[in-house]
């Protein structure tokens, strides 16, 4: 008999937790989903496919034959130790070195510290010297190191199809410079990406002197900074806003996804978290209003979220301004705006802003037209926010030409030589320009590119570009601080940098980028230039180089010019849809398309990996008749029971806007504006490497220069075909128990209420005496771990007698779900990618997953089939929860391992000895959190497209890919289970470092690692500082203090497995006077509806006396009467 871990079954009607649903399927409780719940791994994850018995025997026979041959070489292989010929300064074999550098992206950059092992960078961390980021970094910065070692990158220079040396390229550029110098640049044109690099700006200045008639154009397919025209019109000068979210108590976002799509999003996420964090019931907490068309990360954190088409945002902003300012000249702009409870919504929101003058902020999305930004500036000026929650800084202006200007010049035939520096216009230029055709019409095209991509294919001369980790350069962060871009390694394929190309073209006698950067910085530092430059490289930033803050005053007349050109509001319908193009969370504008870590990372909201999709609202789905037969719900993917777990069998539709058509799979996404379809850019690359080619579809063919970010007039038509998407949203489900516990701030702050201990009133534990007993309940986590380590268990576990006891606390209130931890963990722990096909089978290897739950307050009764489910789930609340191994003290996985491959160490880690593991997978079977991952294939050694060839396929990791592996972590092989280890390599190295340091300081007994010295990869990267890790024996450690908060709870705590990772409950801060106010989070409404169907107080089953918290919560529910 298979041994099952008996949870109290969440049978119909008496389910214990609030019912969240991760997908519409779950809500629909389809038979397929129910089957999935009972499985250890998603369907198909543990079956061999495509191999029948006969074939299997054949393959095995071949293997045995090969095995026999192998016996001949039964000698120990000789290995060599290869020391340097001459000692290298600073290099100590075996110890990593850290250098400051930065990842430039458009006009801003993320300052980084690169970890290098004997000259090869393996991991990037945020540079803690830059205070606004505090050592955090982003998803894309984490993954960018993989691009350096991409075997598919451009590895050689090509001049007219023939391979050229770097010297030849240099000569070519120099002669080009000479030729055009005489003509003053007539006929020469450049197309580059936006950049904040001061060196590049200096070189462009020189370029304009030497080639005054040359065209310098810049193009970025996505916009991440507010349009400069708005600030110029409103304030009469070139300024840009920097928001200070930490000081903002009320935040209104006008279609702005400032956690991801805006420049400075890392700083903003961090600041937002500071204003969001609650440790005491009376802590202030910000309130976030989001008005948006798609469902963004920012929207998922909203306390009040209004779904509104992107093209209606201007009208909304005007209407809000009208309410806030009493009267507004903008009323005409607001004409035609219509949404549910409009007046109440606007009035309550406006009043809230007026009540927080100087402590609120209105943010407009960078992609919105200048008029919206002007209104946001007007509101901030009126509310007195300028100087408190928003600062304006003099960022300078760019006089670069646009891609449209360049296109006109090319059409006019005046361009003879075009240099395309970076970017990828053949893929992402506005469709109406027909860039490919234009580029072909230019006699000479020189392309500096990192990949042999769509644009390179149309260029006569291709110059391989250097990765930023092999380049000298500089950049500016969002606040203008100048940061160095330092190379960690010599260019692997002799790539050139943009700076070098420009310098060579200029005929500079020292064109190497190091000298160029040095010259720039030397001109900026005071005193000894060489010393100043060294300090600049050491710190990773130039102190005091941030853009100066300027005092601005709002000029209504200037702003007025922007409003005259605002188009009239268009009402949307099934036949007149709005398309919104969004910057993808992972691919950005497509530049990261060949990055396997990013492709495999699921989208934070849709949870689709390796693809993008046409996102439609449930209502639109119904109108398109893609709701399933026989279901009350508008679910796209259970139609005709074709849904297989992990494989979203979606319909392929065609989107047509203005005669341009693309096709792609449709995914129904709750929370979208009714008639807005959302498409992520950056997919559908036709010429990139193995990874990116064929992932998703490109939305660029729909974009025209007139409608770059959203367009109206779109229609959708069914092509009748289907496509399988790799959607992980139902993988690793935990049956909707009381996983995320949340409350509203007013409930918590109420006198006599449960306070932050509300978490204790939710879930199984609230219905039973404490599993820790009276004594245990009073103890700190550290005491519990050491004094009652076995918790009454009959199994003997090792004594937790280590000097440290590791623990983690994750704050669900500040987690923004950005997925940076997922990829940081992947980079740190050598986690392989498995490919789209394997993800569809549920075999993804990420050690952390970010669960995204929906709740809409209506799901009720028997396993979601109740009366409430007739409602369309249009306005879901989102709850996010990162889940990695919880390091249970009484780990269920350990008791079932037949070979003791997973056992505890004396510091409380649930360790995994890979070399002992024989792959029974019993542990994964018995893990209640489903966090164990199994190597179904030798993902590291085999090609993803020949996994099923097994021993017959090619073996071995490309040398280039080997270089990115962290030497401190074993690379796992086929048949081995793995999981989060709390970054055991960092713990061990941290302890060793402390011991060595103490011994050398003559104080060898000082072996306790100071708090904060060891950081896990996920903690280090977290922009919101939501993850705290440390020693729970030390009462003053950050983790002990976090765990001492009242809203600390353990996931599935009633199982008495005593996880070392605990969570801090989530809070929402809705405004009671808003029309969509709900006194309880939706999940709690559903929870109460299920558990106390007759109203609160009438508990069918006995409660202990110490359940006041639980009763208090129920009382609140009762007061609410028939809510929902």
């Amino acid at each position: 008999m298979k041994r099952q871990f008996h949870h109290p079954a969440p049978a119909a009607g008496e389910a214990a937790g609030p019912k969240y649903w991760r997908s519409l399927d779950e809500l629909a409780a389809t038979p397929g989903f129910q089957a999935q719940l009972a499985r250890e791994f998603p369907e198909g994850a543990s079956s061999i496919e495509g191999v029948d018995r006969r074939q299997f025997t054949k393959i095995m026979a071949a293997s045995f034959a090969l095995g026999g041959l192998g016996l001949a070489g039964c000698r120990r292989p000789e290995q060599y130790v290869l020391p340097y010929g001459k000692s290298v300064e600073g290099v100590i074999p075996g110890l990593p070195l850290y250098f400051a550098t930065a990842m430039p992206l458009r006009k801003s950059a993320i300052p980084l510290l690169a970890e290098t092992h004997q000259g090869r960078p393996t991991k990037l961390e945020g540079n803690p010297t830059y205070p606004p980021h505090g050592g955090a970094s982003t998803l894309r910065a984490q993954a960018s190191v993989l691009d350096l070692y991409d075997p598919d990158r451009a590895t050689k220079h090509l001049v007219k199809g023939a391979e050229a040396t770097t010297a030849q390229v240099a000569e070519l550029l120099a002669s080009l410079g000479k030729t055009y110098a005489d003509a003053k640049g007539e006929g020469l044109a450049f197309l580059a990406e936006e950049s904040g690099s001061p060196t590049r700006a200096r070189l462009i200045g020189q370029l304009k002197q030497k080639f005054p008639r040359a065209v310098w154009a810049e193009y970025e397919p996505v916009q991440d900074e507010p349009p400069a025209t708005a600030a110029r019109a409103c304030f009469g000068r070139d300024v840009k806003p920097i928001y200070r979210f930490a000081a903002a108590r009320r935040i209104v976002s006008l279609d702005a996804d400032f956690f991801h799509a805006e420049s400075g999003s890392l700083y903003y996420a961090r600041e937002f978290a500071k204003g969001r964090r609650v440790t005491k019931p009376d802590d202030p907490m910000n309130r976030l209003y989001v008005v948006e068309s798609g469902l963004s990360l920012t929207g998922s954190m909203a306390d009040h979220r209004l779904r509104l088409a992107s093209s209606h945002i201007a009208a909304f902003a005007a209407a809000l301004a009208g309410k806030v300012m009493g009267s507004s000249p903008l009323d005409a702009l607001a004409q035609g705006l219509e949404f549910k409870d409009q007046d109440k919504w606007l009035a309550a929101c406006a009043q809230d802003l007026l009540d927080h003058r100087g402590a609120c902020v209105v943010v407009a999305g960078a992609h919105q037209p200048a008029a919206v930004h002007a209104i946001a500036y007007a509101l901030n000026a009126f509310l007195g926010n300028i100087g408190t929650t928003v600062d304006f800084v003099a960022a300078g202006s760019s006089d670069a030409s646009s891609i449209e200007g360049l296109a006109t010049a090319i059409k006019g035939g005046s361009v003879r030589t075009l240099l395309v520096l970076g970017g990828n216009p053949a893929y992402n230029a506005p469709a109406d320009l027909d860039w490919a055709g234009l580029q072909k019409s230019v006699p000479e095209v020189i392309r500096l590119g990192y990949y042999a991509d769509e644009t390179s294919a149309l260029a006569g001369t291709q110059i391989a570009a250097a990765h930023y980790l092999e380049s000298w350069g500089d950049a500016r962060t969002v606040d203008g601080t100048i940061v160095p871009v330092q190379p960690m390694i010599l260019p692997l394929f002799n790539g050139l940098t943009e700076i070098e190309v420009l310098a060579r073209l200029l005929g500079d006698d020292k064109p190497d980028p190091y000298t160029q950067v040095y010259l720039t910085i030397a001109g900026l530092v005071s005193g000894d230039a060489a010393k100043g430059f060294r300090q600049f490289l050491h710190d990773g930033l130039l102190a005091g180089s941030a853009y100066p803050k300027v005092a601005v005053s709002y000029d209504p007349n200037g702003a007025g010019t922007l409003f005259s050109s605002t188009p009239k509001l268009e009402s949307l319908s099934l036949h007149n849809l709005e398309v919104r193009f969004i910057t993808d969370h992972k691919m950005d504008d497509g530049r990261f398309a060949n990055n396997g870590w990013l492709q495999e990372c699921p989208d934070p909201i849709t949870k689709i990996s390796w693809d993008n999709a046409i996102l439609v609202s449930p209502r639109l789905g119904k109108e398109l008749k893609i709701d399933p037969k026989g279901s009350l719900l508008q679910v796209a993917r259970v139609e005709e029971n074709e849904f297989e777990i992990g494989k979203e069998n979606s319909r392929v539709f065609e989107v047509t806007v203005g005669g341009r058509t693309i096709r792609g799979p449709v995914h129904i996404q709750p929370g979208l504006s009714n008639y807005t379809i959302v498409i992520a850019l950056g997919y559908g690359r036709t010429a990139t490497g193995h990874v990116g080619t064929g992932a998703g579809f490109s939305a660029y063919p729909l974009r025209t220069s007139a409608a770059m970010h959203f367009a109206t007039g779109a229609t959708l038509t069914d092509t009748g075909t289907r496509a399988l998407l790799a959607n992980v949203q139902e993988h690793w489900s935990m049956e909707g128990r009381d996983l995320v516990r949340e409350a509203n701030l007013d409930e918590v702050a109420k006198e006599g209420g449960p306070g932050l201990a509300y978490v204790k009133g939710i879930g199984m534990e609230s219905h039973s005496p404490s599993i820790l007993g009276e004594v245990g309940t009073e103890m700190t986590p550290g005491q519990r771990a050491t004094e009652i380590p076995r918790g009454g268990s009959m199994y003997s576990t090792p004594k937790f007698d280590g000097l440290h006891q590791w623990g983690m606390s994750i704050d669900l209130n500040t987690c923004i779900g950005c997925n940076a931890c997922v990829v940081a963990c992947q980079a740190e722990n050598n986690i392989p990618i498995v490919g789209r096909d394997q993800v569809r089978r549920g075999r993804e290897m990420h050690w952390i997953r970010l669960d995204r739950y929906y709740s809409d307050g209506h799901a009720d009764g028997a396993a979601f089939g109740g009366e409430g489910n007739h409602e369309l789930p249009e306005d879901p609340q989102i709850s996010l929860q990162p889940v990695a191994c919880q390091q249970c003290e009484l780990a269920p996985c350990e008791t079932v391992c037949p070979v003791n491959a997973t056992v505890h160490d004396n510091e409380g880690l649930n360790t995994m000895a890979y070399n002992r593991c024989i792959g029974t997978r019993y542990c994964a079977n018995n893990c209640p959190y489903k966090v164990r991952r199994f190597n179904f294939f030798d993902f590291n050694q085999r090609q993803l497209d020949s996994l099923y060839l097994s021993q017959l396929g090619p073996k071995g990791m490309p040398e280039l890919v080997q270089m990115v592996k962290n030497p401190e972590v074993s690379v796992r092989m086929r048949g081995v289970m793995e999981k989060c280890t709390y970054c055991v390599q960092r713990i061990q190295n941290g302890k060793i470092e402390q011991k060595v340091k103490a011994a050398q300081a003559g104080n060898p007994g000082d072996v306790l690692v100071p708090d904060g010295a060891i950081k896990t990869a996920c903690q280090q990267v977290c922009p919101a500082e939501a993850i705290v890790f440390g020693n729970i024996l030390d009462a003053n450690s950050a983790v002990s203090q976090a765990k001492a908060h009242q809203q600390d709870y353990a996931l599935l705590g009633y199982l008495n497995i005593r996880p070392r990772t605990t969570y801090l409950g989530k809070l929402r801060n809705p405004n009671p006077s808003m029309p969509d106010y709900a006194a309880l989070p939706f999940s709690r409404t559903e929870y109460n509806a299920k558990n106390h169907p007759g109203g609160a107080g009438e508990h069918a089953h006995g409660h202990g006396e110490a359940k006041e918290a639980g009763h208090a919560v129920s009382a609140v529910a009762k007061n609410l009467g028939g809510l929902s």
């Binding site: 290995q79 060599y80 290869l82 010929g85 401190e968 011991k995 060595v996 060898p1004």
Partner: protein, 217 residues
């Protein structure tokens, strides 16, 4: 047509059983001896590209281990010297010796001298030199009497059992920190050693890991 099997065949089952027991015993014993690092690794003394003699350098000349293995107190790996380190002396001493051609070549070109690795743990074992030598474990404990070896020989098994012997009871193998690289240092007697070791374990909070996570990641 009477007996197919002779009388003596009656003993056959017993003989077979005894044979099998003995065979399995021999196999077990053999595997336990011949298939462990004690047999497979101890005594391994490959030919090196340069006939470097530890007996001469560390023994007779009295060079400290750390002159060449300079980072052993800082890093997890005890580095081999760069050719530059060799040339510190050998640009004066035996500067034209043909035996040192490899070293001179390495110094001039930067190509490594391909020293053959002798002491080797499996890839999934993360042994750290720095923490051992800084906390009173001598080189001698794992590498033996290197200063008397003409050719370095793998002296101790370095098996997991070997590691655990010490990790379970470190006191007998600890010595003052300043004697760690003195390969000739010996305690006066077992009792002195025990007293010294116990004191170090107590004062230095020496608690070597015995869990998997100590060495395997």
């Amino acid at each position: 047509m009477s007996n197919i099997f002779p009388q003596s065949a009656n003993k056959l089952p017993l003989q077979i059983i005894v044979y099998l027991v003995v065979l399995s015993g021999v196999l077990t014993a053999g595997a336990n001896y011949y298939m462990t690092p004690k047999y497979t690794r101890v005594g391994y003394a490959p030919v090196q590209p340069v006939p470097y003699s530890h007996a001469l350098h560390a023994g007779q000349l009295g060079l400290d281990c750390r002159y060449c293995h300079s980072n052993v107190e800082k890093s997890g790996v005890a580095n081999l010297p760069t050719a530059q380190t060799c040339m510190n002396c050998h640009n004066q001493v035996k500067k034209d010796s043909p035996l040192l051609a490899v070293v001179r070549h390495s110094f001039e070109t930067g190509e490594s001298v391909p020293w053959v690795k002798i002491h080797q743990t499996p890839d999934y074992v993360y042994f750290n030199h720095a923490v051992h030598v800084n906390r009173g474990v001598s080189c001698w404990e794992c590498h033996g009497q290197i200063n008397e070896m003409e050719v370095v020989v793998h002296d101790k098994p370095l098996s997991m059992g070997f590691c655990l012997d010490c990790h379970r009871d470190p006191a007998p193998r600890l010595r003052p920190r300043d004697q760690v690289t003195n390969l000739d240092w010996r305690p006066a007697d077992d009792a002195t050693q025990r007293a010294l070791g116990d004191k170090m374990v107590r004062d230095w909070k020496i608690k070597p890991p015995q869990s998997c996570s100590g060495c395997h990641r």
